[in-house]
Symmetry: C2
Subunit: 202 residues, 2 copies
Amino acid sequence: MTTANDALVLDAAAQDLLFREARTANTFTDEPVSDEQIQAVYELVKFAPTAFNQQPLRVVLVRSPEARERLVSHLADGNKAKTSTAPLVAILAADNEFHEELPTQFPHFPAAKDVFFSERPVREGSARMNGTLQVAYFILGLRAAGLAAGPMTGFDAEGIDKEFFADGDHSVLAVVNIGKPGADAWFPRSPRLAYDEVVTTV
Amino acid sequence: MTTANDALVLDAAAQDLLFREARTANTFTDEPVSDEQIQAVYELVKFAPTAFNQQPLRVVLVRSPEARERLVSHLADGNKAKTSTAPLVAILAADNEFHEELPTQFPHFPAAKDVFFSERPVREGSARMNGTLQVAYFILGLRAAGLAAGPMTGFDAEGIDKEFFADGDHSVLAVVNIGKPGADAWFPRSPRLAYDEVVTTV
């Protein structure tokens, strides 16, 4: 899996770390994941682009056994065992009131808050789109820290929102198990579509 | 902007290339972007994770002046000039019929196609979510190729869908200008939320 891609500027080791050798992990070792590691991930991926520099992503690190149990109860059955045993589990959610931050976070056009995001459904769509971009950046950031990610979308989203975001202003996007890969951590790599199946020219 | 992050495994040059020094470009040089460069990007980012290994992302490279003009007509006014002059413009869309590929792309559970995705609204939501993850991977892949990306979501989505995807089965997610950054390519870097504003622990 270490075929370097010579047309790229990114070095081959980084290509492997982020894309070619990294895999979605379903089992983990006991090695803990520290707050310092998660902060290092955030301080890197926070720079990746979104529309209007909006930053709807919120990360809830589920560390207490009691909170872990509450989270697992809302997951699809197939996701419960691995989430119960992962060293760290994070809830990734979109803050649908992100627009309140635009005057400070998008100083080129402070009025964007009111011009584009005064309506809640518009905000929710934007928070979901841009929060999902940030989920992807965060997954790659975990890999950049030498960690394996096990992102999941099989859960009762409304249940998680009610359980962990009592303000009613957040929408869960993904739940991610985080740690060092354990024994038999993944399936064999599945196929990918060929370039010509994905890219066309007009 | 080259403060290395020592808690990361990813080398400092790669951190800079993908996150710290890369910026959203609004102007470009005349240097063309080749199909080989785009294929190199795809062959790297195709490995990044999605749910059920679904791969809804479709990329339309807009190379003919006639197609470029049709695309620009559907963009927000503020996006027209830069899109008219970028070396390459790509439409990134979700294929809402991606589930037809699951039997070959997710061989662990070929029935996923019917069990989870028989209803179109469910498929559309999944295609949008996972296609958006793939948009983020693609943006970082362009940076890995030494290219600057100028992703935009300011456009008439319905207009683009009708203009470029006559089958009615695709939803545009983003339009991306691609090239080497030109003069005054970007604004000064905007702020980012602090770690404690984004990450909490329960």
